[in-house]
C-alpha cells in the first residue's frame, strides 16, 4: 500500500474541508427555498443531504476527539489500512468530479422528510470547523497507530488517517449530489439561476 507524508495528508484534507465550507457559505446567502426543494421524486433536498452528513459527524467527531487523547506522537509517514483505503476509494467522487457508483444510505443515517434549513446548515458549518480543528490537532499524532471504530460496527477500527479520509470523501460525494440537485432545481423551476455550483475535488489521497 502506498504511503503518504502524514502532515501532507492532513493538510490536503483541511483544504478539502475548506472548499466545502466555502461552498456552503455561498449557499447560506441563497433563498432557503433552494435548500428545501426536492429536485425530483425520491431524491433528497440539499438540506436533507446536509442533515445526512451531520448524522455522520455526530458520531465521528466525538469518536475522533476521544481517540486523540491517546499518547501516540506523530510519525512522518502514514500508510493507509486496507479497509480504510477501500472505503475511501468507493466513496470519493471520480477525477471528473462525478459519482459513478450508486449507493444507498444506512437506515440510521436517513434524514427526516423536511428538516429546518437554518439549524441544519449551522450544524454542518459548526461540524466542519470542529473537523478542521481535529485535523490540525492530529498533525501532532500518529494517525496510523490511533484507531477509531466505524459507525456500523465497533469491531471494525480504521486508522485515524483513514477515518478522516473516508469522512471527507463521503462529504465530497454528497456535494456532487448537492451540485446535481441545484442544477436540477434550476432547470425545473427556472429560479435560482445565480446559485453557486462548482465544488472542486482533489485527486484521491
Amino acid at each position: 500500500m502506498k504511503s503518504f507524508n502524514s502532515t501532507a495528508v492532513l493538510q490536503e484534507l483541511q483544504a478539502d474541508v475548506r472548499q466545502l465550507v466555502l461552498g456552503v457559505s455561498y449557499l447560506q446567502k441563497e433563498d432557503p427555498e433552494l435548500l428545501e426543494l426536492i429536485p425530483a421524486p425520491g431524491k433528497w433536498s440539499v438540506a436533507q443531504v446536509l442533515e445526512h452528513l451531520n448524522s455522520y459527524g455526530r458520531y465521528y467527531l466525538p469518536a475522533i476527539e476521544k481517540s486523540l487523547r491517546a499518547n501516540k506522537p506523530r510519525k512522518e509517514q502514514f500508510t493507509p489500512g486496507w479497509f480504510g483505503n477501500y472505503f475511501t476509494r468507493i466513496m470519493k467522487p471520480g477525477k471528473d468530479g462525478k459519482v459513478h457508483n450508486k449507493m444507498s444510505s444506512p437506515k440510521d443515517h436517513r434524514p427526516s422528510a423536511s428538516p429546518d434549513v437554518k439549524p441544519v446548515v449551522d450544524e454542518f458549518m459548526d461540524q466542519q470547523h470542529r473537523l478542521l480543528s481535529l485535523l490540525e490537532q492530529s498533525k501532532q499524532k500518529n494517525i496510523g497507530a490511533i484507531r477509531t471504530p466505524i459507525s456500523i460496527s465497533r469491531f471494525i477500527k480504521l486508522k485515524l488517517g483513514d477515518t478522516f479520509r473516508f469522512l471527507v470523501a463521503h462529504e465530497q460525494r454528497h456535494f456532487v449530489q448537492i451540485t446535481n440537485a441545484i442544477r436540477e432545481i434550476q432547470r425545473t423551476t427556472g429560479k435560482f439561476q445565480s446559485a453557486p455550483l462548482a465544488i472542486q475535488h482533489s485527486p484521491v489521497f
Partner: protein
Amino acid sequence: MEPLEQLHNFISAIHWLNESEWEVFSGIWQSFECKRKTVLTVAGETEKHLYFVLEGLQRAFYIGDDHEAATIVFTYPSSFSGVADSFLTQTKSRYFLETLTASKFLRTTYRQLEELMNGYPSIQKMVLKLTALALKGVLERQIELQCFSAEEKFRALLKRSPHVLQIIPHKYLASYLGIDPATFSKLLGSVRI
C-alpha cells in the same frame, strides 16, 4: 533568487535586523505550495499562518448577504499574505483567503512569530512597522473607495500596479474597486495610460 533571500530583501527595506536577529527570524519559515483555487482560510477560522508570497496570486474576500463575494485585497510576490487582522489578534476571520493561481510561499505560525517577538524587541518593532504600513494602505484604499469616481479608482489602480490587468481576472478587479462589471469593461476600453 533563494526564497529566504527574497524575504530578506523585502524586510531590509523596511526594518534592519542584525545578524543574529535575522538568523532566528529566518529559522521560523517553512516552504509551502498549493494549486490554484485552494482555500487557505475560511471565515470562522482563526488565521494560524503568516505567508510570504514567492509565486502566484491570491485574494482575500468577504461573502456578503447578497452572496456576491467582495474582493478585499490581492497578494502577490513579494508581499505578506494571510488574513492579517485575524492573525494579529488571533480571533476568528470574517474573510476567506484563496489562491487564484498555483502558489509558492514561505509560511510561519503565530506561535513561532510570537515567541520571537517576545524574545527580540527588534523583531517586535518590525512587526509593528509592517502592521502600521498595512494600516496606512487600508486607509488610503478606504479614501479611494469612498471619494473617488469609478474612473479615478481605475486610473489609481493602473498607476500603482499596471501589471494587474494581465494577471487578475477582471471580475475580481471590478469587485475590488467597487465598480460594477459593465462600468469596468467600459473603462478598459476607454482609459489609456
